[in-house]
Structures are given as C-alpha cells and as structure tokens.
Amino acid sequence: MSIAWYLAVSAFIFAIGAGGVLVKRNPLVILLCLELMLNAANLALIAFSRMHGTHDGQVFALIVMVVAACEVTVGLGVIVAMYRRRLPVDVDEMRELQG
C-alpha cells in the first residue's frame, strides 16, 4: 500500500474529529473527538516516518500520545470539577461568558 492511502485515512479521521468537536455537546465526547484529531496526526506522522525512513515521526507520535493523555487527564479533571460544582455537563450550557 502506498503511503498516500494512509494519509487519506488520516485526513478522514482528522475531519471526523473536527466535525465531532463541532456537533457534540457532551464535553466528554468532545475530548474523545480531540483524541481522534491527535490520532489522525499520529497516523500521518508515522506514515511520513515510514516514507522518509527516519524515526522522527515515530518519536513525534509517541510524544503526541503523551500529550493526548495529559490533555485528557486535565480535561477530565475539569469535567469532574464541574460536575461537582453541579454545573451541567453540556458545552451549550456554558454561556456565562459571552459578548
């Protein structure tokens, strides 16, 4: 399979993730969509890594995984805190700040 195929899949996943962020209202799911976007980037990185035959891409992908994990952790932390504060877990309800 040529690299192009992987890239095509990667782009598809990225777009799904981006679309998901736009349509989902539950912050938990939005975090999942962000994961999708980062994973799409990972796929692209690894595909390029293969293409160039260097490890940079793979290392980058590992780092991205770390970052993804960190973002998730913090994101979940915020959600938990909101839940405890009895705030609605729905991004469309968070409109205190506007204008």
Partner: protein, 668 residues
C-alpha cells in the same frame, strides 16, 4: 523739510493724544473737561496743520512732495510697506480744511453733547475719527491709506451707534461698517492690481510706474479703487448706509457724514489721478456714477421728511458732483467743492441739530413749523447754509459748483450730458433745500416752537425712538437728558458763526478770472496731469455756466416758495400726479431692497442652510455618524458572534482553518 515732517506728525498725533486721554481719563475728567480737551487738541492740530502748510509753501515747487517715514511696517517679500506720510499740496490743503472744520464741530459738540452720559466716550471717538481721517489724508502709501480708510470706517461705526442701546443705531452702525468693509475690500483688491504692476506700495513710486501696469490691471485696479471710494462716499450702489447713519448724534453727522469722511472718495480719486489717467474707462465709470448719484439722491431728498436725512441725501448729491469732477479730470474743482461743501454742510447739520434739540429729538419735518421766530440765529445759519447749498450767488457753493460743471463741460463729448444732469439737479437742490427751510422755519409755529418762544425748551415726557416708537434707554440716552440749542450755548453759536462766515466767503479763494489761488497751490500735486493742463474752460463757458447755475438755483427757490409758502396744495397735487415716481423716490429707488435681495438674504439663507442642514447632515452625519455607525455595526456583529457557545467558537476556528488552508493551496 524737517519742519514739514514735524508738523505733519504733530497734526496727526494731537487728535490721537486727545483720544487716548479722553478714553483713559473717563473717570478723572469731570464735567465738560473731556470736551475741552478734545477741542483743544483739535485746535492744536489745526494750528500745526497750518504751520505745515506754510512750511510746505516755503519749499521749492518741485520739492513739495515730502515723505515722512517712521518705521518699516511690512517690508518683506517684495512689499515695501512703511509707516510713512506724504505731505504735498493736496494732502496739506485737505488737512487744513479738515482740522479746521473739525475743530469747530468739536467746539459745537462741547455744548451740544453736554449732559450726555457718554460725554468722554464721545470726544474720544471724535478725536479718534479725526486722527483716522488725517491718517487717511496724510498716508504716504497704499497700506496706510487703507488703514486710515478702515479707521474712519470704524470711527464712523462707533459714532453712528454711539447711543448703543438703540437697536436702530446699532443696526445702522453695522450696516455702515459692513458696507465700508466692502469698500475696504475694493480698495485692497485695487491695491493688489496696482502693486502687481508696479511692485511698490508707495504712492510716488507707484505713480511713477503707473504706465507700466498692463491695461487690464490698471482698469480693474482703478475700478476697484472706485468701489472703495463709492462705499466711503456713499455713491450708488453703496450709498444706503449714509441715510441710516443719521442715527448718530448730529455733530457726528456734521463732521463725518458731511464735511470729512464721506469726501474721502473724492480725495482718493484725486490722489490717484496718475492711475485714473491711465484708464479712461475707470474714470468714465466714476464720472457716470457720480452723476447718477447726484441726481438720484437729489430726487430722494425731495420727498423724504426726516430733517437729517434730507441733508444727508443732499450730501450724497453734492459728493456726486465732486466725484464727477475728479473723475472727469477736474481735480481742483472737485477739491474746491469739497472745501466749500465742508463749511456749508457742516453748518446745515449744526443748525439742524439745534432744531432737533428744540424738538426734543424729533426729526420729522411734518411736525416742525415756524421756528423762525423762536430760533433766529439758527434760522440765519440755516438760510446761509441753504443758499450756499442751493448755489445762489455769491455764496461759496455757487462758485465751486459751477466751477465743477464748467470744467466737466470742458471735457466735451458725453461729459456734456453729465453737465446737463448737473444743472437740472442744481434746480432740484434749490427746491428741496428751500422746501426744508420753508417748512421748518416758516408758517404757524408748532407747539415746540411756541414753547421755545415762551422761553422754555421742550422736553418729551417719555423719550421715544422716532423710527420704531421704542422707549429710549435713558442710561445711554438719546439725545441725553439735556438738550442744547445754539441760541443758548456760546460754543455752538461760535462754531456756527465761523462756519457761516466761511459758507459765505470761502468761495472767494478761487473766483473765475479773479483768483486761482487753489489752482496754483495744487500745481505741484497735479504736475504732469493731462487734464490739469488741458482743461481750461473758456470764459464763455465759465460765465455762461455761472449764469445758468444762478438761474437754476433761483428758479428752484422760487418754485419752492410757490409750492410750500403760497400754494401748499400743489405739493399734494404733484404727489398725486406722479404717484409712481413719488413712491420710487420715497422708497429711495429701492436700493435697500435690492441690496437685501442680492446679498443679505442669500447670505442669511446660506447661513441657515449651513447651520440647520449641512452641519447636521454632512459634517456630523457623513463624517462622524457614518464611520461611527459602521464601527458600531461592526461591533454588534462581532459581539453577536461571541455567543458563548464553545462549539460556535470551534466552528469559527475550523472555518478560519479552511480559509487559510484554501488560500495557501490556491497559491500552491
């Protein structure tokens, strides 16, 4: 030479000193002190002027152009404006006449204005006026001509609205001022044309190079100078202010609006003769307008009923003669007429002032009657002035007016037509002058006259403005709480007596074929003038003219006698017969209305349009409201996007992302 300069400066500065002393000392100088100060400096100035004249005569004929320079005034960038005086026979003669007449009028005012609360102010203004007038006459270059020109305008304004709480007075003042500024503008523009051609502002320099100015420029320049002259001398179409100017105290009318300021136009044209001789057409304009004015204003004088306004219109008419003369090249004749006119017209005003005082401010001749017995001295003076004005031999006015007409006639061509009009007007002049005399002094005494005969001067219960009926403000009183008539006041009597003397005898200065003192004296000024050398009316013309003039004026008096003394009903009949003409005359040939339609209303409309429409719609709407509205709308749009919806934010981000990617992909 030095003494000429010294006396010139002194002549000029005496009145200024008087002005300043009176202005600053208004609290210190009590009683009539300001009047005496003002009069004293004027006499000093007169003496100095006479000495200047003599000193000038001591110089050789070709040296009688003395320039006295004080300092550089605006001498940069091609200009050579200096604070400089030019003393030559013309200016010296004018100076002497003006200081002389002014002194007398000051003297008259000392008494006449007695009791007015603005006494010191009055003399300060009056002195300032004389200073300005002398500056105008003595100026050595265009700049100070303009300065003096404007100063007399300002002084005139101040004196017209001297009783400044009368709205009629202030309105008349602003009218006079604005029209005079219009004249200033003409003068300045004319100066521009001339300066452009000659490169110098100095009289002598400019006159020397008069030939170098291009034809168009010199004509344009001279016509613009004429505009200045017309405004100041109340010539058509800029004459409307003069009648309204009669709102001022009577000495003011005598001084400014009869003897001195209004004749500045005549002086200007005479002074600028080298330029006018370069431009036939400009000179023609002057002559024709002068002729027009002398006729038109005489017709108006025939019908109006306000004592001072009748005299004012006669002034316009007489100045018309002068303007016609100097524009036609009869310089000396014009100046001569100015000289005689100064005496008899001042005298007439003074006498009128006396009458008005007796009437407690009323000026309407319909209400006057039979003052002859009550005020014999005033009556005498008035008759002398009237005869002189009417041109009855041998009074001064007779000699000078007929000299004017003879010289103009000598130009030939179409100038003859002017002369014809001049003679017809001489008849009208006699007519209205004696209309005045007969109606005011003869007949059954009016209540006021009767009161005076009983030794009691009439005072109104409630002083009212005769024009509007408005109650007068007694603080800035009209005409002051006290009234003064010549019969009871020495200074008034003295001043009028002297003037009466000159009104009779001043003409002897230059009697055709007898003396030509003035001609000789003026020679250095008009040296090189084409017309000055060429125009010498033949004896036939001269004496024929004199005869015709005498005949016309006597005829006028006779007709006046017929109409107003013998058969008063004729007046009504004539009025009925010539109703349209009468209406035209009474309405002053609709000049005020024309000016109003042409200038005042458009300007007012423009002002209103600017104030109410343009400022709101364009200045504030288009330039302020527009951008502000745009920014506000932008703000609303941007902030409505800031909805607080997280997903909307993300969406915008994605949109931005697609946009940026698209842009760069297109470039790829």
């Amino acid at each position: 030479m030095t003494s000429v300069k010294t006396f010139a400066w002194l002549t000029l500065l005496f009145p200024l000193a008087g002005c300043i002393v009176n202005a600053l000392g208004y609290r210190v100088l009590r009683g009539k002190a300001p009047g005496y100060v003002g009069t004293a400096v004027l006499f000093a100035s007169f003496v100095s002027a006479v000495l200047m004249l003599f000193a000038l005569q001591d110089l050789a004929a070709e040296e009688r152009h003395v320039r006295a320079v004080a300092w550089d005034y605006m001498a940069v960038g091609g200009f050579d404006g200096q604070l400089a005086l030019l003393i030559d026979p013309l200016s010296a003669f004018m100076t002497v006449t003006i200081t002389g007449v002014s002194s007398l009028i000051h003297l008259y005012s000392v008494a006449y204005m007695g009791g007015d609360r603005g006494y010191a102010r009055f003399f300060s203004y009056l002195n300032f006026f004389v200073f300005s007038m002398l500056l105008l006459i003595l100026a050595g270059n265009f700049i100070f001509l303009i300065v003096g020109w404007a100063f007399v305008g300002a002084a005139s304004y101040l004196l017209i609205s001297f009783w400044f709480r009368r709205t009629t007075a202030t309105a008349a003042g602003i009218k006079a001022f604005v029209i005079n500024v219009l004249g200033d503008v003409g003068l300045v523009l004319g100066t521009f044309f001339i300066f452009r051609g000659t490169g110098t502002l100095d009289y002598l320099g400019a006159f020397e190079k008069a030939g170098e100015i291009s034809g168009g420029d010199v004509t344009a320049g001279c016509i613009l100078l004429l505009v200045g002259a017309f405004a100041k001398s109340a010539q058509i179409p800029l004459h409307t202010w003069l009648a309204d100017a009669m709102e001022g105290p009577t000495p003011v009318s005598a001084l400014i609006h009869a003897a001195t300021m209004v004749t500045a136009g005549v002086y200007l044209i005479a002074r600028m003769w080298p330029l006018f001789e370069e431009s036939e057409s400009a000179a023609a304009v002057g002559a024709i307008i002068g002729c027009l004015t002398l006729f038109v204003s005489a017709t108006i004088g025939l019908v109006v009923t306000d004592l001072k306004r009748i005299i004012a219109y006669s002034t316009m008419s007489q100045i018309g003669y002068m303007v016609m003369a100097v524009s036609s090249g009869a310089y000396v004749a014009g100046i001569f007429h100015f000289y005689t006119h100064a005496f008899f017209k001042a005298l007439l005003f003074m006498a009128a002032g006396s009458v008005i005082a007796a009437m407690a401010g009323v000026q309407d001749i319909d209400r006057m009657r039979g003052f002859r017995g009550a005020m014999p001295f005033t009556f005498g003076c008035f008759v002398i002035g009237g005869l002189s004005l009417a041109g009855v031999p041998p009074f001064a006015g007779f000699v000078s007016k007929d000299e004017v007409l003879a010289y103009v006639a000598d130009r030939g061509d179409w100038h003859v037509a002017l002369v014809v009009v001049g003679y017809i007007t001489a008849f009208i002049t006699a007519l209205y002058t004696f209309r005045l005399i007969f109606r005011v002094f003869f007949g059954e005494p009016s209540p006021e006259a009767r009161e005076l005969e009983e030794g009691h001067l009439h005072h109104a219960d409630v002083p009212r403005n005769p024009m509007t009926g408005e109650e007068e403000d007694t603080d800035v009183g009209f005409p002051g709480p006290e009234h003064h008539i010549a019969e009871r006041e020495g200074p008034m009597k003295g001043a009028m007596g002297v003037l009466a003397f000159f009104a009779v005898f001043a003409g002897f200065l230059q009697i055709p074929n007898v003396t030509d003192a003035l001609d000789t004296f003026m020679e250095p000024t008009f040296e090189g003038s084409r017309f000055h050398e060429e125009l010498h009316p033949s004896d036939a013309l001269t004496f024929g003219g004199l005869a015709i003039g005498a005949a016309f004026s006597l005829a006028g008096i006779a007709v006046a006698y017929l109409i107003w003394m013998r058969r008063p009903e004729i007046a009504a009949q004539v009025r009925e017969r010539f109703r349209p003409l009468h209406t035209l005359f009474v309405n002053k040939w609709y000049a005020d209305e024309a000016l109003d339609r042409l200038f005042v209303r458009p300007a007012a409309w423009f002002g209103r349009f600017a104030q109410q429409t343009f400022e709101r719609v364009v200045v504030n709407g288009l330039f302020v409201g527009g951008p502000v509205g745009l920014v506000r709308a932008g703000s609303a749009a941007v902030r409505s996007r800031q909805s607080g919806f997280l997903r909307a934010y993300a969406a915008l981000m994605v949109v931005g992302l697609t946009g940026v990617v698209l842009w760069l992909l297109i470039r790829a």
